[in-house]
């Protein structure tokens, strides 16, 4: 029987527009894009030219420091654009998909790590500390996979898993050859493929968001100490690995949740990594004044309808932007329809069942940290979140280290950032702290 870990801290925000459990497929012609920024910490080196023909699984760019780690095209087609920004920073590589899809055939018999690096799957592995793409030279003490996402409007992995159980198990078993694998399962999930998964240690987490964050799970199961490295992989990416081992070709097809209050009929869609969002959003959302988020509403990046699905995004959330709200006297009005964890609003009266529409406004000015204990209430780790943030702001590297920065990723602070009355950009602050530390320790 798997161990049940009960988490009390955290917050579930009940947002309107959850995806219903049906899956639509959309035709996927046109352009795909691979965005290097999605693979944080990599120095990209382009290995194709505009006009080159590529197959699904052919490298588009590699990491300068580890050229063996390849970042591959999700489709076969022609490289249509190598988009660069200021100071020739590589923004994206776009591939115009062919009518008839071809995939590169990999030899699945050899060394697993080499296969993963060659086929672009290694690129999906992230490492703690620093929350960057894993370094193939490291020997991780464990690989963590979280089988659920607890954030609002997120994908329900148990639903996505249906019909892909064998691939998922194959992926887990393969990962177990690299290091010990821990699978984090939600108390609400009952699928045997999860609770009775083989070749891994299953832990059940019972609690509100961010219980599904792999960082929280690591902290409770096997906290990262200085000098240790842990790898993490998204649950759907484990399926990618299973597919590769089964067929010898890459298939980056995800079942993502298109959800949010501005989506007309929120449901699941089968899409490929890097797919253009117009294929998904045309006619399915109220585009006027909407904020389209590639990824989750708490952690994802704002993009536009012409944007592309991020490499790690398991959902696309669409919420109102709210930049023309002109709400009067917010500091004193009762604001009955507004969600807040604070008792000066009335959302505590309306029960947990009520679904809220929350727009993208910050709803206040940025201040120094005033209230105490706000972060700790929604930060289910054995870490003083407020003190860690202060240490990062102060640039005190020794103290960051002492307070446990190696265990966290920006996403772990998402809920704390949501409830913060001082409106500090915690995820950005933590990202900067991790970057500085990585540079110092390099």
């Amino acid at each position: 029987m798997a161990k049940v870990i009960k988490l009390r801290k955290g917050l579930d925000v009940n947002l309107k527009g959850k995806a219903t459990k049906e899956t639509a497929t959309v035709s996927c012609p046109g352009e795909y894009a691979l965005v290097p920024d999605d693979f944080y910490g990599v120095k990209p080196k382009v290995v194709v030219k505009e006009g080159d023909a590529v197959k699904a699984g052919d490298a588009l760019f590699v990491d300068k420091l580890h050229p063996e780690v390849k970042f591959v095209s999700p489709v076969s087609g022609t490289v249509s654009m190598v988009e660069r920004g200021d100071r020739r920073k590589l923004l994206s590589i776009r591939v115009k998909a062919d009518e008839k899809q071809e995939a590169r055939q990999f030899d699945t018999k050899g060394d697993l790590k080499a296969l993963m690096m060659e086929s672009g799957l290694f690129a999906f592995l992230r490492q703690r500390p620093y929350d960057v793409v894993a370094n193939p030279d490291d020997a991780p003490k464990a690989i963590f996979v979280s089988a659920f996402n607890s954030m609002p409007l997120s994908q329900d992995f148990e639903y996505v898993l249906q019909g892909q159980e064998a691939e998922f198990q194959a992926g887990l078993s393969a990962l177990a050859k690299l290091a010990k694998v821990y699978l984090g399962v939600s108390a609400k999930q009952s699928a045997k493929a999860l609770t009775e998964a083989k070749d891994c240690e299953v832990n059940i987490f019972d609690g509100p968001a961010p219980a599904g964050n792999v960082g929280v799970q690591i902290n409770h199961v096997s906290p990262i100490n200085k000098g240790e490295v842990v790898w993490t992989l998204g649950a759907e990416e484990v399926i990618f690995l299973g597919r590769l081992l089964k067929t010898g070709t890459v298939d980056f097809t995800r079942t993502i949740a298109l959800a949010g209050s501005e989506v007309k009929a929120p449901k699941y869609y089968k899409v490929k990594v890097g797919q253009k969002l117009t294929t998904l959003l045309d006619g399915t959302i109220n585009a006027e004044g909407a904020r389209i988020i590639s990824g989750n509403v708490m952690t994802g990046l704002k993009t536009c309808a012409e944007g592309f699905l991020g490499a790690h995004a398991t959902e696309v959330n669409v919420i109102p932007e709210g930049d023309h709200a002109d709400e009067m006297l917010g500091w004193i009005m009762p604001r009955f329809n507004t969600f807040s964890t604070h008792r000066s609003y009335f959302s505590w009266l309306l029960g947990k069942k009520k679904e809220y529409v929350i727009d993208a406004r910050v709803k206040g000015g940025e201040r120094h940290m005033i209230m105490s204990g706000e972060y700790d209430k929604v930060f289910p780790m054995d870490i003083y979140a407020g003190y860690l943030v202060k240490a990062i702001i102060a640039g005190d590297i020794d103290r960051q280290e002492a307070l446990g920065i190696y265990e966290v990723a920006p996403e772990d602070f998402a809920i704390a950032e949501f409830v913060d009355s001082s409106k500090l950009e915690l995820q950005r602050i933590v990202r900067e702290g991790l970057d500085i530390l990585r540079k110092e320790n390099a």
């Binding site: 917010g330 940025e366 407020g386 002492a402």
Partner: protein, 391 residues
């Protein structure tokens, strides 16, 4: 379009960089953000949605929580005046309230004008938004001074505390000491005769705009704690304690009524703005020390009397719980509160000079709050260091 929104939109070009009235940017900005929730949306790379709570609403709620004590204080100023001049029989409720209102209002105005003036100037100078912290300090300050405190003293003290206790540290959220208490401490040590002295200070002695009564000779009324510090004190009568709970005793303007303070305290606890851990442990610390002192025969004051007299309740509810200057770790809050209660009663009982010790206790613990936190944070750090194999 909303006419007020339009007005602000019209003003904007004048106060922006290069505009004619750029010097008033922080002022206009301050008013606009109060009139309208800012329409700024989350930046890319941060969380896309936010809780609706912000520091404006928090600070406004604290001000609302202070209002019962403030209004009662106004009434009590009139009541004490009528009592002192022997007119209690013919004074009306509203007559006493308006008298007190007129006596207190100038202090509130001076406190806000001086304090907010400095805040606006600093915000303009640093090109930042106005911080709301002084909204609370500005109303607390008139409530913790005697009614006879001259306005010029108040102005100097407010300026001193806002600049030296807050702004030089970086503004609200960065200060070590509670600015309202620094104001009081400044007055207390610079102008002791106006703050305690010969007990004349607690009662307004003159008419204001025809309201109230003029005392014929200098009338003295000591606070109960002042009385208890005199030689030959034999303990309070039940009547005195009942008056201390309703608040009809001489004292600083807002500190007298335990009932009015409790109303505000309940709002703060309910909304979670004040930590119940801090508040409770101040009372527990005070009661325990009071009991001990009485058992040792050092004082005639009962332990429960310590909690309702003087500034104890006001300090415990509104000042010790200031999130910025109190402990930030949850365990630290217990230690912090207990020590405040302990020191406050200790000063009251053992110090012959000052009958009241709450202000000094809180200021002293403000200083030690970081040290208490340090111990708890350090234990977390040690736990992590112990786990690590690489040093």
């Amino acid at each position: 379009m909303n006419p007020i929104k339009k007005l602000f939109d019209n003003i904007h070009p004048y106060v922006e960089e290069g505009g004619k009235f750029h010097a008033f940017r922080s002022l206009v900005d301050g008013f606009e953000t109060f009139a309208f929730v800012p329409n700024t949306t989350s930046r890319v790379g941060s969380v896309n949605i936010h809780d609706a709570i912000d520091s404006k609403r928090i600070m406004s709620l604290v001000v609302i929580a202070l209002l019962p004590a403030l209004f009662f204080g106004m009434y009590n100023v009139g009541y004490q005046n009528a009592l002192a001049t022997g007119h209690l029989g013919d004074a009306t409720f509203w007559g006493m309230f308006w008298y007190g209102f007129l006596a207190v209002l100038p202090k509130i105005i001076v406190s806000y004008v001086v304090g907010l003036g400095i805040e606006f100037t600093v915000a303009q100078w640093k090109n930042e938004e106005i911080q709301e912290g002084f909204l609370v300090s500005g109303i607390i300050i008139p409530m913790i001074v005697p009614v006879t405190c001259p306005l010029w003293m108040l102005a100097i003290a407010v300026a001193f505390s806002v600049i030296l206790a807050k702004e030089i540290f970086g503004g609200t959220g960065m200060n070590i000491f509670n600015p309202a208490l620094i104001t009081r401490a400044f007055l207390f040590f610079s102008y002791p005769s106006a703050m305690t002295g010969d007990a004349k200070v607690w009662v307004a002695q003159d008419t204001i705009l025809g309201l109230g009564y003029k005392a014929t000779d200098a009338y003295t009324a000591a606070t109960p704690l002042g009385e208890a510090a005199q030689a030959g004190f034999q303990g309070f009568t039940p009547d005195q304690i009942q008056n201390a709970i309703t608040g009809l005793i001489p004292g600083c303007i807002g500190e007298t009524s335990v009932i009015a303070i409790a109303l505000g305290g309940l709002l703060l606890l309910w909304t979670g703005i004040a930590s119940w851990k801090t508040m409770l442990s101040v009372f527990v610390g005070g009661a325990a020390t009071g009991y001990l002192m009485q058992a040792l025969g050092l004082t005639q004051i009962q332990w429960y009397e310590q909690l309702v007299l003087g500034g104890f309740a006001f300090g415990a509810v509104f000042m010790a719980t200031d999130p910025v200057t109190s402990c930030r770790t949850e365990c630290g809050k217990y230690v912090y509160g207990l020590l405040i209660g302990f020191i406050a009663v200790l000063v009251r009982v053992l110090n012959p000079g000052y009958p009241e010790g709450m202000m000094l206790a809180i200021l002293l613990m403000n200083l030690f709050a970081s040290l208490i936190d340090y111990c708890f944070v350090q234990s977390n750090i040690n736990m992590r260091a112990k786990r690590a194999t690489v040093k």
